[in-house]
Chain length 477, copies 2
C-alpha cells in the first residue's frame, strides 16, 4: 500500500521523460532546490554518489602523476580578458562580485566559470626551466555559470567538478595528455557508471573557448538525447603566448609551454540517472552505489530476526557497502524506498528464511528474486552485483545501438531525429556553413567526430560535396 | 652549498616570527599569492596536508553519523537578514554578487561567509516529524570573508573549511552534539596535528553571531600568541524560531528544533606551522604528513644504488607514505629541501650502506642520525615516526606550560603578555565591562573559560569584585 503510494508519485518515464527525471531527482533524495534560481542543494544521498565517483577518478588521476591544488574562486576582470577567445566564450555567463564588505571594489571580480586564466597566471611565474615540466594540476571545486534555463545536475548555475590544468615541454605531450585523460574519463563512464561512450573530437564550432582541439566522450540517454559527458582540451601554446608562460629548454633556449585542460562535473550524476533509471526510480551501478545492499528484516519483532540481520550486515560490511534498515516502517515501504534510491540489491530476511538458512536476494534492475543459502552469501552478493553492473552497461549499449541511424541529407537527419531520437551518423565536408545549416534546419548539433571512423556515404549531408568526416549528430542536454 | 643557500633564505624564527612564517609558507611550496588580495593559491604540497587532515576528520564525522552534503555558495540578501544577530555579525564582511552575465540582479547575493541561513531554510522545509530528527549534516567547501588584513592560512578572504549543521529534538541533544564535536576536534589537534589544546567555552562577547553558547579549542603558537583552532556552537532554538523549523513530537505537539553548527578550516595548517616549525622550515607531524619518509640515494650513479632505493621504497610503501627522490639534484640540496618541507624522516642509502646491509635514518625534529639494519627497516621507521609524533606534542606542551602565567590584575596581565607572551590565567566576574577593560588596557582578549577550572585568585582582574570564573586570556592570531 505504502509502496504503491510512493510509486504512483513518479511520472511514467515514457510519458514525460523530463518530468520523470525531476521526480526521480527529488523523490530519491538527491537534491532540493535552493532560494537562488539554478542552484541546488545536494543532499546526502546525491552527495554520496558524487563522493564515490570523485574517489574513483581521484585515484586514477593521482596514479598518473596529477597533483591536487586549490586556487581561488575570484578572478579579476582584467585577467579574464587576457585571452581573447576565452573571454568571449565565458564573459557573458559569469557572476560578478562588485562589493566587498561595505566598499565597492576598484575592479570587479568574476566568480570562476573555469580557471584557465588563474592557472596560467600561476604557471607564468612558477615555470622557468624544463626541469619544472610537466606540471599536472587538478582541483575539485565548484564553478558558476549564469545559465538561463537550468535542470538539476545537467545544467546548474553552480556545479561541482574537477578541472585539470597541465603544462608540457612539447606539443606532442600536451596532445597525449588530452588523449590520456579522455581514456580515464571513458573508463570512469564505462567501467564504473556503466555508461557506454563514444570517443572523438569536437568540431571547431563546438570546441572550448581558446582551445586548439577539444576531445569528448559522448553518451546517449534513455530518451535518445545526447549528453556531452566530459571534455579534454589541447590548448597548444595559445594561452602560453597570451600569458607569457615560457621555459628554458635543454639547449638553453626559451620556448612556450604547451597546455591542456579537462573537466567532468556533477552532470555525470544526471547522466547516470537518465541512462539507467526506470519507472520505479533510480538504478545505480554497483561499483559506485553508496549503498550496494539494503538488508530488510521481515517480521522484525520476532525473536532472532534483528540479530540475524545484524550478523549478515557485519559479514557483508567488510566487502560491500551495506545498509540494514531496522526502522519501524513496513517492509513494503522499505522495498519501494530502496528501489526509488536505486540500491542494486536488497536482501530480505525473515523467521522462515532464518530457519531454512536462507535469504531472498532481489536485483533492482529486473527485480529477479533468488533464494540463496546464507552460507554462500558473500559469493552470491558479489555475483549478483557483477551481473547487474554488466546488465546495465549492456542495456544502455543496446539502447544506443537501437537509436543509432545513418543518413545522407539534412532532411533525413531531421526525420530520423523526430521519429527516433538518438545518434545520427552522417558525412560532413568540414565547412562551418554546413554545420550551421544542420543546426538551423534540423535543430541538431554535431556531437563529435569519432576516433573510430566509418563511411556512411561519400558526400556532405548539407552541401553534397565530397566529404571524408563521419560525424555523429544529435540533440543534446 | 645549495643547502646553505636555501637555508639562508629563511628568516630566523626568533628574530622575526611573522617573516619566518611567510618565508616557510612560500619556500615549502604550500601556497602562492593570487592576483586577488587575501586569496591564496594552495599548491600541491599545501593541499596534500589539507587532504590528510580532511580525510581523518571526515572519517570521524562519518563514524558518528554525520552525512556530507553540498549547499550553494550564494545566499540572497533577504535570507541572510532573517536572523538579527547573525546578519549583524557577518554582513559587514561579505562579498556581494550584483550581476549575473550581462544583467543586474534584482536582489544581490552574498558569497557565503558561513551557511547557517541556507541550512535553516532547508531544515524548515525538510523537517516535519520527530522521525526526521536528528539531522546531522556537514559540508566541505570554501567560504569568503572580506578581511582587511590577511595572512596565508591564518586569515584569508577565501578559505577552505568544513561546516557542520545539525538539528535535534531536545536542547540537551544539541548541547551534547556541540560538546561531542569539540572532542573530535580536540582529538584531531592532539592526536594527529600534535597540537595540545585547551577546551572550554567562549564568553558572550566572543561567541558566534546568533549562538547561545560557543565552545572552542584554543592552542598556543611557538611565539606565545594564541590561535582559536576550532569552534562549535549550540544555537538553542534561536535560528529555529527565526526560520520556523518545527517538528511534531511523539505526543503530536509542535516544537522548535534545537541546533548546532561547527567548523574548522585551513587555518589548522597555519597552526601546525607555527607550533612545530623551526629555522630549517616546516616540521609536519607524521600522522598527517603527506610524505613520511624521503629516501635519498647517495652516489646514485653507482651500480645497484637506485635499485636498492627502489626496493626500499616498495617495501615501505605498503605501510608508509614514501617518496624516493632520484632527481639529478645533489644529496645536500635534497636534505635541505625535505627539511624545509618538514618531512619527518629521511633515509639515506649509498653504496657503503648497501654493502653493510644498513641505512641512515635522520629525524627531522632533532636531526638525530641512526644507522639502522635494513632487515629491521619497517620497524625502525615505525618507531622513529611514533617517537617524532610524541616529541612534537611534548615540545608544544612544554612551550605552552612555560608560557602560561597566572595574574590577578589587568596591569599584571599586560606586563606578563609584554614580557613573555602566552596564556594568562586570571579570575573574571562575568561582566562585559570588565572584559572590555582588559581589551582596552592590555590589548588582550578572553580566549576561553576552560572546562577544567582552577582557582588563581578570588577577585575579578578588572573590577576587583568576587569572581568565580577562571579565564584564559591572550593575544591571538
Amino acid at each position: 500500500m505504502s509502496k504503491d503510494k510512493q510509486v504512483e508519485a513518479i511520472t511514467n518515464r515514457d510519458v514525460d521523460f523530463a518530468q520523470w527525471y525531476t521526480d526521480v531527482v527529488k523523490k530519491a533524495g538527491l537534491i532540493e532546490y535552493s532560494p537562488v534560481k539554478g542552484c541546488m542543494m545536494i543532499l546526502p544521498y546525491g552527495y554520496a554518489i558524487w563522493e564515490q565517483i570523485k574517489n574513483e577518478l581521484d585515484k586514477k588521476l593521482k596514479a598518473t602523476g596529477h597533483e591536487n591544488v586549490y586556487f581561488p574562486m575570484f578572478i579579476p576582470e582584467s585577467l579574464l580578458q587576457r585571452e581573447k577567445d576565452h573571454v568571449e566564450g565565458f564573459a557573458p555567463e559569469v557572476a560578478w562580485v562588485t562589493h566587498g564588505g561595505e566598499n565597492e571594489l576598484t575592479e570587479r571580480l568574476c566568480v570562476r566559470p573555469t580557471s584557465e586564466v588563474l592557472f596560467c597566471e600561476y604557471f607564468a611565474n612558477a615555470i622557468q626551466s624544463h626541469r619544472d615540466l610537466p606540471k599536472k594540476f587538478n582541483q575539485w571545486c565548484s564553478v558558476v555559470r549564469w545559465e538561463k534555463t537550468t535542470r538539476p545536475f545537467l545544467r546548474t548555475t553552480e556545479f561541482l567538478w574537477q578541472e585539470g590544468h597541465t603544462c608540457h615541454a612539447t606539443a606532442e605531450e600536451a596532445q597525449q595528455e588530452a588523449l590520456d585523460i579522455l581514456e580515464i574519463y571513458a573508463s570512469i563512464f564505462e567501467d564504473f557508471l556503466a555508461m557506454p561512450v563514444i570517443k572523438g573530437r569536437k568540431t571547431d564550432k563546438e570546441k572550448f573557448a581558446g582551445a586548439l582541439e577539444t576531445f569528448t566522450v559522448e553518451s546517449l540517454m534513455h530518451d535518445g538525447q545526447a549528453l556531452q559527458a566530459g571534455t579534454t582540451h589541447n590548448f597548444g601554446d595559445g594561452f602560453a603566448k597570451a600569458f607569457g608562460i615560457q621555459f628554458t629548454n635543454k639547449e638553453n633556449k626559451l620556448e612556450h609551454v604547451h597546455q591542456s585542460s579537462w573537466g567532468v562535473s556533477t552532470r555525470m550524476i544526471g547522466g547516470l540517472i537518465m541512462t539507467h533509471g526506470d519507472d520505479n526510480g533510480l538504478i545505480i551501478p554497483p561499483r559506485i552505489a553508496p549503498i550496494q545492499v539494503a538488508i530488510i528484516p521481515i517480521a522484525m519483532h520476532k525473536d532472532g530476526v534483528l540479530d540475524k540481520a545484524n550478523e549478515l550486515k557485519n559479514r557483508l560490511s567488510s566487502d560491500f557497502r551495506v545498509k540494514l534498515d531496522d526502522s519501524d516502517r513496513t517492509p513494503g515501504w522499505k522495498y519501494a524506498e530502496y528501489e526509488m534510491k536505486g540500491v542494486p540489491l536488497r536482501l530480505e530476511i525473515g523467521p522462515k528464511d532464518i530457519e531454512a538458512g536462507q535469504g531472498v536476494l532481489v536485483r533492482r534492475d529486473n527485480r529477479e528474486k533468488t533464494i540463496i543459502k546464507l552460507d554462500n552469501l558473500e559469493q552470491e552478493v558479489a555475483n549478483a552485483l557483477e551481473g547487474l553492473q554488466t546488465a546495465l552497461y549492456q542495456s544502455a549499449l543496446d539502447n544506443r545501438e537501437n537509436r543509432t541511424t545513418s543518413v545522407t541529407t539534412i532532411e533525413e537527419l531531421k526525420t530520423a531525429l523526430d521519429q527516433k531520437p538518438g545518434f545520427i551518423k552522417a558525412m560532413w565536408c568540414g565547412e562551418l556553413a554546413c554545420e550551421n545549416a544542420v543546426k538551423e534546419q534540423a535543430t541538431a548539433t554535431s556531437r563529435l567526430i569519432p576516433f573510430e571512423q566509418e563511411s556512411v556515404g561519400a558526400t556532405c549531408l548539407a552541401c553534397g560535396k565530397p566529404a571524408d568526416k563521419m560525424v555523429v549528430w544529435g540533440r543534446a542536454y
